[in-house]
C-alpha cells in the first residue's frame, strides 16, 4: 500500500513531463492522456481509501520514506510521505474534482491550439497539489506549495498574448511569494526550535516550546495561508486570477489550491492550539476576509469575479473555523470539501454559460438563459442552493456547524465572530441570488460581440455537462452523507482532535440554525427585490460609495499600487541612479583623479631634448650640492 502513495503523485507528474516535452505529436491525443492519468491517480486514491477504511481509526495513517533529500548536519530533509485521514480527504477531493475538470476541459479547450500544454499544466498542478497534502514534513510541503503556485502562474497566464492575463499571473505569483516568505520563516523557526520540521516530531512536541515561539511560528504560517488562500491582506491576486481559463478557476482558484492555506492551519493545529494569540489572529483574518469577499462579490458584474469574491469569503469561513481550535478544524475541512463541490460546479456552470455566450463575462449582458441551457441552469441552481445554505443541501450542514462553533467560543469573541458568520450568510445569499437572477432569469440583454454577432446560447457538449452533473450531485448530497451519524467528525478526529463546544446561554442549536436560515431568506428576498422584480439595467448604475469601492475590490489594489508599485518604482529608480552616481561615482572618481594627476605629470615630457638636458643638469647639480652639503655637515 505504501508504494501507492508515491504513485499518486507520479501519475500526473509523468503526464506533465510527457505532455510538456512531447511536442506536437501529442497534440491530438495528449488531452486524453492527461485526463486518463488524472483518473488513474483518482483510482489510486480510492484504493488507498478503501484500504484505510479497513483499519481502525488510530492506525489508519500510512508512512512512506522514499529517500533522503537534503542532509546537512542537523538539517535532515527527506522525501517522505504521510497519508492520514486529513491527507486522504484532500487526495480524494483533489483527484476527484481534478479528474472531472480534466474531462470538462477536453470540451472547453477544444478550439485552443495549445490544448496539449494546458493539460500538461493541469497535470503539473495535480502532482504539486498532491505532493502538498501528502508530504510528511514542512519543507516538502513547501515544494508542493510553490509547485501549485507555479501551476497557477502558468494557467492564469495561459493566454499570455493578453497583457491582462500575463499581469494577473505575475501578480498572483508575487503576492504568493510574500506568503511563501512566511512559510520559509516558519520552517526556519521550527528548525531552530525543534531541530526538525517533520510533522510527527514537531507537532507531537509543540507544547514543549514556549508560547511566544509558537505564536511566532503560528503567525508566519498564517501569513503563508493568507497568500495562498487569498485572505486579507494578501487577497488582491484572486480576482485578477480569473483571467485564466474557467476550468482553472474552478479547480485551482475555487476547489483546491486556494484551500491549501486552510490545510496548512489545520495540519499545524498542534502549534496553533498552544498559541491563543495566533489563533485570534487567524479568526480575525478569516472574519475580515469573509465580509470583504462577500461585499466584493455583491458588486461585481463579471460572473467569474463575483464567484472569486465568493470563494474568498467562503475560505474566510474556513479560516475562521480553523482559528477556533479543535472545535472548528473538522468543520473547516468539511466546509472545504462541500465548497469544493459546489464552487467547482458553479465555476463550471459559469464556464458553460461563457462557452455559449461568445466568452462574454458581464452578467448584465446575460439574462433569460434558463431556457437555452437547461442542464447548466439546473446544475448551477443546485450549486447555488448549496452555497447559500438551503436546508439539507451540503452548504447548509457545513456552514451551520461553523456558525455554531463560532458562537460556542463564548464570551465577546464568540458573539462577534458568530454574528459576522451569520451576516456573511445573509450577504452570500444576496450576491448568489443576484448572480442567479441576472444570468438565468429576466429579460435577454445580449449584446453583439466584437464581430457584430449576437450570441447563440446553446447547451455545452457532454464532456462538459457530465462533470457538472456529478458535482451538482455532490453539492446536494455531500453534507447529508457527511453528517449521517457524525461520520466526518469521527473520520477526522484522530488527526485533528475534536471538542464538543457548549453554546452560551441563551443560545441553542435550533435557534442558531433558525437564524442562519432566516439570514439566508432575508438575503434572497433582498436580492429578489433588487434584481428579480424589476429589470436589470444593461449598464451598471453609479451606485453609492460602497458599491464604487466594492467594484474596485474595496480599493485594495489602489493602495497596493500607490504604496508598493509606485513606491517600489521610485525606490528602484533612485537606487539605480545612486548606484551609478555614488557607488560607481566614487570608483570612477578615483580613476579620474589618478588619470588627471597623470595628465599633469605628462606635461613634463615635452619631447624637447634640451629640456630633458636641463632637468639632467639640474638633477646632477642638486645631487652634487646635496653630497657636498652632507660632507660639510
Amino acid at each position: 500500500m505504501e508504494s501507492l502513495i508515491g504513485l499518486l503523485v507520479a501519475a500526473p507528474l509523468l503526464g506533465a513531463a510527457v505532455l510538456l516535452c512531447g511536442g506536437r505529436r501529442l497534440d491530438r491525443t495528449g488531452h486524453w492522456l492527461g485526463t486518463g492519468l488524472a483518473f488513474l491517480s483518482f483510482a489510486f486514491g480510492l484504493v488507498l481509501f478503501t484500504d484505510m477504511l479497513g483499519k481502525d481509526g488510530e492506525h489508519r495513517a500510512l508512512h512512506s520514506h522514499l529517500f533522503s533529500w537534503v542532509p546537512v548536519g542537523d538539517f535532515q530533509a527527506d522525501v517522505a510521505f504521510q497519508l492520514d485521514q486529513l491527507s486522504m480527504t484532500f487526495v480524494l477531493l483533489i483527484t476527484g474534482v481534478g479528474s472531472l475538470i480534466h474531462l470538462y476541459s477536453v470540451g472547453y479547450m477544444e478550439h485552443d491550439e495549445r490544448r496539449r500544454r494546458f493539460f500538461g499544466y493541469l497535470n503539473l498542478f495535480l502532482a504539486a497539489m498532491l505532493l502538498l497534502v501528502i508530504a510528511d514534513n514542512y519543507l516538502l510541503l513547501y515544494v508542493g506549495w510553490e509547485g501549485v503556485g507555479l501551476a497557477s502562474y502558468l494557467l492564469i497566464g495561459f493566454w499570455q498574448h493578453k497583457p491582462s492575463a500575463a499581469t494577473a499571473a505575475k501578480k498572483a505569483f508575487i503576492v504568493n511569494r510574500v506568503g511563501d516568505f512566511g512559510l520559509s520563516v516558519a520552517i526556519m523557526l521550527m528548525f531552530t526550535t525543534f531541530g526538525t520540521f517533520a510533522f510527527g516530531p514537531v507537532l507531537a512536541n509543540a507544547t514543549e516550546a514556549g508560547e511566544s515561539k509558537l505564536t511566532a511560528i503560528g503567525l508566519m504560517l498564517l501569513l503563508a495561508a493568507c497568500g495562498k488562500s487569498a485572505q486579507v491582506p494578501l487577497q488582491s491576486w484572486l480576482g485578477d486570477a480569473m483571467e485564466g481559463p474557467t476550468p482553472v478557476s474552478a479547480l485551482i482558484h475555487a476547489a483546491t489550491m486556494v484551500t491549501a492555506g486552510v490545510y496548512l492551519i489545520v495540519r499545524s493545529g498542534a502549534i496553533f492550539n498552544g498559541a491563543p494569540d495566533a489563533q485570534t489572529a487567524v479568526m480575525v483574518v478569516g472574519a475580515v476576509t469573509l465580509l470583504f469577499g462577500a461585499i466584493v462579490g455583491c458588486a461585481k458584474d463579471d460572473i467569474k469575479k463575483g464567484l472569486a469574491g465568493s470563494t474568498m469569503s467562503q475560505i474566510g469561513y474556513m479560516v475562521l473555523a480553523a482559528g477556533l481550535g479543535p472545535i472548528g478544524y473538522v468543520f473547516a475541512i468539511m466546509h472545504l470539501v462541500t465548497h469544493g463541490f459546489f464552487k467547482a460546479g458553479l465555476f463550471l456552470g459559469a464556464g458553460s454559460v461563457m462557452h455559449g455566450m461568445n466568452d462574454e463575462v458581464d452578467m448584465r449582458k446575460y439574462g433569460g438563459l434558463r431556457k437555452y441551457m437547461p442542464v447548466t441552469f439546473v446544475t448551477f441552481g443546485l450549486g447555488y442552493l448549496a452555497i447559500i445554505g438551503f436546508p439539507f443541501l451540503s452548504g447548509f450542514y457545513s456552514k451551520d456547524h461553523l456558525i455554531e462553533a463560532a458562537f460556542a467560543r463564548g464570551a465577546t469573541q464568540g458573539w462577534i465572530f458568530g454574528s459576522v458568520a451569520l451576516l456573511g450568510a445573509a450577504i452570500t445569499a444576496f450576491y448568489m441570488t443576484r448572480m442567479m437572477l441576472m444570468t438565468f432569469f429576466g429579460e435577454k440583454r445580449w449584446q453583439p460581440d466584437e464581430n457584430g454577432e449576437l450570441p447563440h446560447p446553446h447547451e455545452s457538449p457532454k464532456t462538459m455537462t457530465i462533470p457538472m452533473v456529478i458535482l451538482a450531485a455532490g453539492s446536494v448530497a455531500a453534507g447529508f452523507i457527511f453528517n449521517l451519524g457524525e461520520r466526518f467528525v469521527h473520520w477526522l478526529e484522530p488527526v485533528t482532535g475534536y471538542e464538543h463546544g457548549h453554546l452560551p446561554e441563551p443560545l441553542n442549536v435550533p435557534l442558531i440554525t433558525g437564524s442562519a436560515v432566516t439570514a439566508m431568506v432575508l438575503g434572497v428576498a433582498l436580492a429578489w427585490v433588487k434584481y428579480g422584480r424589476r429589470p436589470v439595467p444593461a449598464v451598471a448604475p453609479r451606485g453609492n460609495a460602497l458599491t464604487w469601492a466594492a467594484r474596485r475590490d474595496l480599493l485594495q489594489d489602489d493602495v497596493n499600487h500607490v504604496v508598493l508599485v509606485r513606491g517600489g518604482e521610485h525606490l528602484t529608480r533612485s537606487l539605480v541612479y545612486l548606484d551609478h552616481k555614488v557607488v560607481d561615482g566614487v570608483v570612477n572618481g578615483t580613476a579620474a583623479t589618478v588619470g588627471g594627476l597623470s595628465g599633469r605629470m605628462r606635461r613634463v615630457q615635452n619631447g624637447f631634448v634640451r629640456s630633458y638636458a636641463v632637468s639632467m643638469f639640474g638633477g646632477a647639480a642638486v645631487l652634487i650640492a646635496a653630497t657636498l652639503f652632507m660632507r660639510a655637515v
Binding site: L20, F67, W69, V70, P71, V72, G73, D74, F75, Q76, V79, L139, Y142, V143, W145, E146, G147, L150, Y153, G157, Q160, H161, P163, A165, A166, A169, K170, F173, I174, R177, D180, F181, S184, V185, I187, M188, L189, F191, T192, T193, F194, G195, T196, P201, V202, N205, E208, A209, G568, E569, L571, T572, R573, L575, V576, D579, V583, D584, V587, A591
Partner: protein
C-alpha cells in the same frame, strides 16, 4: 609516483589553449571542435577526480607537492577537498556549454574572412586558458601558487571582455566598442587593485610564518598544521590586517557590495557565454577563496569581521535585487541578480554553520548552472534581435515557445523555485544564517520576494503580450542551442530533486572548515527528534 591527476586536469585545457591558438586562420571549424573536445576531456578528468575522491577520507586528497621557488618556500602544491571537487566539477562542466553556446560568437566578419586575422582561434584559446587558470586556483593549496593564477586569469578575461562583444548593439558599432573597452579596463583595474592589496597580505603572511616557524611557507596544509600544533600564533592585529588584505581581493572578485560596480559593465558588454564565464566560473574563485583561505588562515579575524561582512552581504542581497528590478538592459539585470546571489553565498559562508557553508558551496554550483541556463538563452535571444533592451522585446512566447519555455525555467531557477537546484542551496543558506542570526536571516528572506519580482517582470515584458513589431519572424531555438540548454535544465531538476551526491561530498569539507574556525552548529532549543531518528 602516481599519475598527477590534478596537474593533468589543469594542464589539459592549458595545452588545448596553445593548440587551439596554433590552428591556421582558415581552419576555424577545426579550432572550435578542438576546443570543445579539450573541454570535454577536462570534464572527463574532473569526473575522475570526483570519483577518486573519498568524502570520508583525508581532508586534502590526490595531493601533489614539489618544490618550486625554494628560497621563498613557494611550493607547487595541489590537493582537493570536497568543496574544490564541487567547484572544479562545475568549471569543467560549464566550459563545454560556454564553448558550444559561443560557437559563432567569434566568427570573423564576412569582409575579413580572407585575411590572416584569427579571432575565432583566439576566442576559444582564451576560454580554455581561463579554464586552466580557474581550475588550478581551485586546486592550489599553496597560497602563492593560488595568488599567481588568481591574478593571471585577469589577462585572458580582459581580452575576452574587451575583444569580443555582441554583434549588434543598440547604440551602433563605435559606441559599443567604446563601452566594451571601458568595461574591460574597469574589470582589469578593479580586480588588479584587489589583487595588489592581497599581494601585500601574501607577503605579510610569509613574513609572519618565517618569523615564527623559522622558515617561511605559503603552504596551506603546513600553516593549518602549525596552527593546530600551536607553533603558529599570529598576533591579533596582524591577523586582522592580513585577513582584510585577502578578503578585499575576494570581495572584489565575488563581488560584494559596494565593490560590485564592475560586474554589470563587464557582463553587459561581453557576449553571453563570456558573461557566464565571468559570473558562473571566474567569480566563484572569490567566494571559494573566502571559504578556503580567509576562514582557514585567519579564523580569529574571520570571526571578528563576521558582523560587518554579514551586513554587507545582506545589503548585496537586497540592493542587487532592487537594482535588478530597475534595469532596462536584460544582461545588466542578470548581473544585478547575480550580485544578489553572491550576497547569499557570502552570507552562507560567514554564518559559520554547517547548513550555511554547505548551502553556500551548493549555491556556487547551482548559481553557476542556473545563471548559465538563463544567460545563454538570453544570449540566443539577443543574437536574434540585436538588442539588449527589455523594451525591444514582447510576445516572444508566441513566436518562439521553446525559447520562452527554457527562458522561464532558467528564470524560475534564478528565483529559487522549489524542485529546482537553487532552492536547496538558498534555503540551506537562509536556515544556516537564521540559526545564528535570526534578524539577518529574516531580512535576507525578503530577497525571495524580490527575486520573483525581477524575474517575472522580465519574463512578462519580453515573452508575453502581443508580439512586438520586428519579432514576427523570430526563429525558435535551433538544435545546437537546445543541446546547450537542455542538459543544464536537466541538471537543475536533477540536483533539485536529489542533491545528496553533492551534499555528501561537500559536508565533510565544511566540517573541517568549521572546525578551523572553532565553531559548532547551534543546538535547537527543544530537540524534538528524540528516538525516531
Amino acid at each position: 609516483m602516481s599519475f598527477p591527476l590534478l596537474t593533468a586536469t589543469a594542464a589539459l585545457p592549458a595545452l588545448g589553449a596553445v593548440a587551439t591558438a596554433a590552428v591556421p586562420a582558415e581552419k576555424r571549424t577545426v579550432a572550435k571542435w578542438l576546443a570543445l573536445l579539450v573541454s570535454l576531456g577536462t570534464l572527463v578528468l574532473a569526473a575522475i577526480v570526483a570519483i577518486r575522491f573519498d568524502p570520508d577520507g583525508a581532508r586534502f586528497q590526490l595531493t601533489e607537492s614539489h618544490a618550486w621557488i625554494a628560497d621563498f618556500g613557494v611550493r607547487y602544491e595541489l590537493g582537493v577537498d570536497g568543496i574544490a571537487v564541487a567547484l572544479v566539477g562545475l568549471t569543467a562542466l560549464l566550459i563545454p556549454f560556454i564553448i558550444a553556446a559561443g560557437w559563432h560568437d567569434a566568427d570573423p566578419l564576412a569582409e575579413k574572412t580572407t585575411s590572416r586575422w584569427r579571432p575565432t582561434q583566439g576566442f576559444f584559446a582564451l576560454i580554455l586558458l581561463v579554464e586552466a587558470m580557474v581550475v588550478i586556483s581551485f586546486l592550489a593549496t599553496d597560497v602563492f601558487l593560488f595568488y599567481i593564477f588568481f591574478e593571471a586569469m585577469l589577462i585572458p578575461m580582459y581580452f575576452l571582455i574587451g575583444g569580443f562583444g555582441d554583434r549588434a548593439h543598440q547604440h551602433g558599432e563605435e559606441e559599443a566598442g567604446r563601452q566594451r573597452s571601458y568595461a574591460a579596463v574597469k574589470f582589469l583595474l578593479y580586480n588588479l587593485a584587489g589583487g595588489l592589496i592581497m599581494l601585500a597580505a601574501v607577503i605579510g603572511l610569509y613574513a609572519v610564518t618565517s618569523d615564527q616557524l623559522g622558515s617561511g611557507t605559503f603552504s596551506l596544509q603546513e600553516i593549518l598544521q602549525a596552527r593546530a600544533d600551536r607553533d603558529l600564533d599570529i598576533a591579533t592585529s596582524t591577523e586582522r590586517w592580513l585577513f582584510l588584505g585577502f578578503f578585499f581581493a575576494f570581495a572584489v572578485k565575488a563581488p560584494l557590495w559596494p565593490l560590485h560596480t564592475w560586474l554589470p559593465n563587464a557582463m553587459g558588454e561581453s557576449t553571453a557565454p563570456i558573461a557566464v564565464l565571468i559570473t558562473a566560473v571566474v567569480d566563484k574563485v572569490g567566494t571559494f577563496a573566502m571559504l578556503r583561505f580567509c576562514l582557514g588562515l585567519f579564523p580569529e579575524a574571520s570571526q571578528w569581521a563576521t558582523p560587518v561582512i554579514l551586513v554587507l552581504a545582506l545589503i548585496s542581497i537586497v540592493y542587487g535585487a532592487l537594482l535588478a528590478v530597475g534595469q532596462r538592459d536584460i544582461k545588466r539585470l542578470i548581473a544585478f541578480a547575480s550580485i544578489s546571489h553572491f550576497g547569499f553565498i557570502v552570507m552562507g559562508i560567514f554564518a559559520m554553520t554547517s547548513q550555511g557553508q554547505s548551502g553556500a558551496t551548493l549555491y556556487m554550483v547551482n548559481h553557476g548552472i542556473s545563471t548559465a541556463a538563463l544567460m545563454l538563452v538570453i544570449g540566443f535571444l539577443i543574437s536574434r534581435r540585436g538588442s539588449r533592451l527589455i523594451a525591444d522585446y514582447g510576445g516572444v512566447q508566441k513566436v518562439a515557445p521553446v525559447l520562452a519555455g527554457t527562458f522561464l525555467i532558467g528564470g524560475l531557477a534564478t528565483l529559487s523555485l522549489p524542485g529546482l537546484a537553487p532552492f536547496v542551496s538558498e534555503f540551506l543558506v537562509l536556515v544556516g544564517t537564521f540559526a545564528r542570526y535570526p534578524v539577518i536571516g529574516i531580512i535576507a528572506t525578503v530577497g525571495i520576494v524580490l527575486a520573483a519580482v525581477y524575474v517575472l517582470v522580465l519574463y512578462q515584458r519580453t515573452m508575453t503580450g502581443p508580439v512586438k513589431s520586428g519579432l514576427e519572424k523570430l526563429p525558435d531555438l535551433r538544435v545546437r542551442e537546445v543541446l546547450v540548454v537542455a542538459p543544464l535544465i536537466a541538471l537543475l531538476i536533477g540536483l533539485g530533486v536529489y542533491p545528496k551526491p553533492l551534499t555528501d561530498i561537500v559536508n565533510p569539507a565544511v566540517g573541517h572548515t568549521l572546525s578551523d574556525v572553532g565553531e559548532k552548529d547551534p543546538k535547537p532549543e527543544h530537540d524534538a527528534r528524540g528516538g525516531d531518528k
